[in-house]
Amino acid sequence: MSDDELIWRIAGGSGDGIDSTSQNFAKALMRSGLDVFTHRHYPSRIRGGHTYVEIRAAGHEVQSRGDGYNFLLALGDSFARNPQEEAYYGNEELKPLSENLDDLREGGVIVYDEGLLTEDDVAELDLEEKAEENGWHVYPVDLRGLAKEHGREVMRNTAGVGVTAGLLEMDLEHIEDLMSDAMSGDVLESNLDILHEAYEMVGDEIEVEHDLRAPEGEHDAEQALLSGSNAIAYGAIDGGCRFIAGYPMTPWTDVFTILSQNFPKMGGVSEQVEDEIAAAALAVGASHAGAKAMSGSSGGGFALMSEPLGLAEMTETPLVLLESMRAGPSTGMPTKPEQGDLEFVLYTSQGDSSRVVFAPGSIEEAYEQTRLAFHIAWEYQIPTIIIYDQKLSGENTNVDVAFFDREPEPGLGSTLTEEELAEAAHDNSGKFKRFQHESENGVSPRSLPGQKGGRYLATGNEHSPVGHISEDPDNRVYQMDRRLQKLESIREELDEEHESNQAAFGDDDAEYGIITWGSSQGAVQEAVERLNEQGHAVKGLGVSDMMPFPEAEVTDFLESVDEAMVVEMNATAQFRGLIQKELGRFGEKMTSLLKYNGNPFEPAEIVEGYEVNLADEDREPTAQVRIEPAAGD
């Protein structure tokens, strides 16, 4: 746990402006030269209900939320004071303070809003006692009163930021800039007044007793603050996507919203439709007619998409789908992350179906793999799925702007022009033999409706080379083999022409390996670094290619270690199962570290899992994680 980092948690009611306030504060920290990483926790309620956002900021790279936090700004839940709501939810005013104390580190700082909480309320919590035990420094400040003086109560967020900046001895410059970008006129004036007044309270009225200060850092290149959803949306845009159809469902809605807002200025089309079957079917239709199209959803909505997914595969219509996981089964926990839909995404839809599945492990990978998903889908005429989760979707981190310094890739892949169609094979009635390959990779180039010389029938039934329904056994075997051939060709292309999608870290010679997939990667990476700093020899692998599976890379990794721990956020060890299915061995080498309580892994939990696992101690880890023994144990 490094000391030179700030992990600032702002807690309040859902709908209290926690999100926008924290987003701006994160940007201010980034602009002051720090690396940042945000983590968002919220309940499935629109207004009220306890929510928090954490910002981790340090002068060095940060890959995860970290362990616990060291600064709490507890704003109180304004909606909890609505008497009507109180009848439903009980008094929740205290929650932003009471619910957050467990994770606050020793020596941490607490600022709470005196304007919302009476002394009696706070007395209930035994705050004084606890503070003494843990070396916390508690600053009650009347944020609400200050905000009210200058305008409206909602501005108490600004007051909170002002006090924070004062207590951490930060410069106000970046915060002021961001405020001026976002507001104007009277609103801006009053917010700036509040900010300054709150800032100056520190020293004047508030006596500083803690040591924590904002860390220092410097960037040598331009940075941007980016969420996983942003990264996916930008990857899609740069991959040439100009058509999206969807139906809202948390957390996939973020990408849907970003593209809907940006498409008008870039000549794209966005459609919100009646359900997810329609959404994916629209993407298929648009792609068939010549747009680079995408749809997506989260678990429940993706369930409805299995029909159009199969249709895309059978008709060889390029398609990109997103699956942003949340905890299941069924509607599960809508606002909580889980990596529980892996098997569902790999195998949903009838028959010997195949698709390409990428599971990005970081925000950069989310951008890159979405771009790649469009390339692969259009080149090979196969559905490509990006599987990610609520965690990756909502977290933000700073990325070098130069990272985006590359050309967009709008090409339609293996789609023919009319000149090429004139040369292509046709049957004697003049129909284009669209489903007949002449290449090695299984791909048969396609035509688009309205093109001269390209007439054919795309059909979801098994079909002949021109698309007529066919149950001819020879044709069936030919078409099936050709479609299945694509996955092998894609594996070859991924191995030969692209940088590996798998992220390797840690000590190359280590005999202990930690292997993970998707959004757990950041916490694993940090745990591996920490273990190595502590003198252990550990290496890690974050796998992104779920289908086609990177057999060689994972085999090499597992062969090189004596033992491996597979880290994933689900209860049934789905990824470990996939490794065993794909490689047919290593069962005896792999233990699982599983977490499925709705919260993502913290690095310390992985470190602890390693310790328990390696020491073969007969104890369970203390965190809410579970160890699943290796096969045969």
């Binding site: 200025k265 966005s270 009646e274 629209l282 648009a286 199969g310 009635s429 129909k431 390209g454 029938l457």
Partner: protein, 311 residues
């Protein structure tokens, strides 16, 4: 040079161009009403000046869904009930393609009912032909959403307890701007109605009565029908929503009692189509999205410009 030269091509078109070569021969039963739709379409398309390559026919699953296997245009034979979402997106991606969707009453009013309501509501510029034989044909004669109350089938052996759905009224309420009913036994009217539907700028819904001699021998569709436009008994203004609604109700009340009325029921030429509306609010570009990929001068705006950047 445009990437879609078949679109808008002007030349003399022979209806035989819409017939695929020797294969495949229709597998419909002798006497099936589906032949009537196929024939009417083959006649209508050249008459409205459409070439096979600028037309995209999108079908569902059922005997009806095989329409585009026997009609030589660009085609997409989708899955059960999903022809409309596929079709309307193709139209949004390339509005210059002539899109015709088709399927059965089970396909379109049953499993695809939700899509039907929403496609009509949005008034997509396309034609939708529902082969209404009041039965599930391909799966061998189960009761369909348009089968009359009391209809006996293998799955409802005591007779269906449900009243049939009212496709015309449903369509009107949902927002379709051209609504007609025609019948396979009336080829001339069928052809004329299909032509009008194709030329209509908005969602044109044709409830096409097709007899299924194999599974639905009792259907009333063989009785003589009356053309509402030709008969003096049914004088009403097809542009008037109220009058159209009343006429639809009347027809739907008596359909299963031996009187079959066909013809146009509602025509709204005023309301803009969905793509016009979408363009008007800035949600859709003027140039078809599909064409842009072939346009060498196209500017592909970068995500880079959307980033909030700072050192």
């Amino acid at each position: 040079m445009s990437a879609f030269n078949a679109i808008g091509e002007e030349r003399e078109i022979d209806r035989e161009e819409f017939t695929p070569g020797v294969e495949p021969q229709p597998t419909w039963c002798p006497g099936c009403g589906d032949f009537g739709v196929l024939k009417a379409l083959k006649q209508a398309l050249p008459e409205v000046g459409k070439t096979p390559e600028e037309v995209l026919t999108v079908t569902g699953i059922g005997c009806s869904g095989k329409l585009n296997s026997y009609l030589d245009t660009y085609g997409f034979h989708t899955i059960h009930g999903r022809s409309l979402p596929v079709a309307r997106a193709a139209k949004l991606a390339n509005p210059e393609v002539e899109v015709i969707a088709a399927g059965g009453d089970g396909d379109g009013y049953g499993i695809g009912g939700n899509h039907f309501i929403h496609t009509a509501r949005e008034n997509h510029d396309m034609t939708y032909i529902v082969f209404n034989n009041e039965i599930f044909g391909l799966t061998k004669g189960q009761t369909s959403p348009t089968s009359p109350k009391g209809h006996k089938s293998k799955t409802q052996p005591s007779g269906s307890a449900k009243s049939p759905l009212r496709p015309l009224s449903m369509s009107l309420n949902a927002g379709a701007t051209y609504i007609a009913r025609t019948a396979a036994v009336n080829p001339n009217q069928a052809k004329e109605i299909i032509k009008e539907a194709i030329e209509h700028d908005g969602f044109a819904h044709i409830d096409f009565l097709t007899q299924c001699p194999t599974w639905n021998k009792d259907a009333r569709q063989y009785v003589p029908y009356i053309d509402v436009q030709e008969s003096d008994d049914y004088d009403f203004d097809v542009h008037d929503r109220e009058e159209a609604a009343r006429m639809m109700r009347e027809t739907e009340d008596v359909l299963n009692e031996g009187t079959v009325l066909t013809g146009r029921y509602y025509v709204d030429d005023e309301s803009p189509s969905y793509s016009q509306e979408k363009k008007a609010v800035g949600e859709m570009p003027e140039q078809p999205v599909a064409e842009r990929y072939f346009d060498e001068d196209a500017e592909w705006e970068r995500s880079y410009d959307l980033l909030d950047r700072h050192v």
